[in-house]
Amino acid sequence: MLNHSSFDARARWRRRTGCAIAVLALCGNCASAAETVLNPAPTAQDWAALAKLPDWSGVWTPKISDQNRRIKADPMPWNPQAAKQVATMAADEAAGNPRGLFIDCLPEAMPSWMLITHNAMEILFTPGRVTLLGESDGNRLRRIYTDGRGHPVDPDPTFHGHSIGRWDGETLVVDTVGVLPQTFLAVSEAVGMPNNGDLHVIERIHLADSETLYDDLEIIAPRILTRPWKTTRIYFRQRARKYDIVEGVCLQGSFAERVDKNGNAVFVPVPQADGNPVPIESAPPK
């Protein structure tokens, strides 16, 4: 449950960002005259400070049944244009149309990784940074800067956006902007809308109990939603070594492992039908 209003957090972030923009505006030519900003080498004190943070070690597996339950119980507040397209996609999915959002193996991106993943993640604390590492699509990585920096004024859009975080007690409050407009706000792997720009995600990540992690998300997607949408995703901690994160390269499944005429081990592309399985009539590719 939210123990603080994320709208408050949103307002605080806006104030900060606003201040930063105001300072830049006053500064005029400062940007060009400014000295290069260095990321300082961490001190022994910086490393020691990490020990005071909550223990988020281990591997976190998503509660898939809760993802599904929440999507049904609290659907995204699509605007009329988006709702129409989503309804079409949902009907296609129900009819067994295999077209999916991620068949090209581009990252699920923010916030869909957090919303619909079936794969585990781990979280690393280093001085000035929290890093989320996932598996499955080969490029599942979020860098959350906790060194006090703000967002760039004009961030280069990326799949996971630009994230800054701060600790509010034992809760990590993360603010993300700069996400590529083409990335999806996904209901499932088959249904979702491109965010179409101006996406802003605020998260409060915290332990709900010693072994359960909550990500309380507020998703502000003004091009496709009628209002900010709040939801939560739940992850369970595993410590058994068999749960360790494994490498997951999304495109690997598009290639068969074969031996070429020179005896070299090679990957050979195998056919796709709209990125989906083409049930074979005879045999896997030779």
Binding site: H118, R239, Y243, G253, P269, P271, A283
Partner: protein
Amino acid sequence: MTIQVLRSRALAAVLACAGLTGLAAAHHSFAMFEFSKQISIHGTVKEFQWTNPHVVLWVDVPAAAGETAGTWSLELTSPGNLTRTGWTRRAFAAGDEVIIELNPLRNGKHGGALVKATQVKTGTVFNTNLRDMEKPGLK
């Protein structure tokens, strides 16, 4: 010419030359499977494709089986998730006799989402339910 174009042309060339019919386990939804239906097949492993994002077990069902005869592609979740549910890349190998429970493709072709796989020679059963992992501290 972009790399993408080159890549798609190379793929087209490979397909044209080889006349392949095969499976690419791209990161797709599972909408094409009929989850209200579960069937069983009995056959021999042709290949165990231990790849992300979807592992694929290819199974040959002998002609005597009638309607189910032929090669099947059975799709699973990712290697990471399967490892956590007790699978390994050595779980199956070509030639293994297997009994597979599956949710078939809606289009009636020989493919499906694998529900349960049994190694006949050892009796070992492999399940695929990720919901079994929905609690902390699993061993």
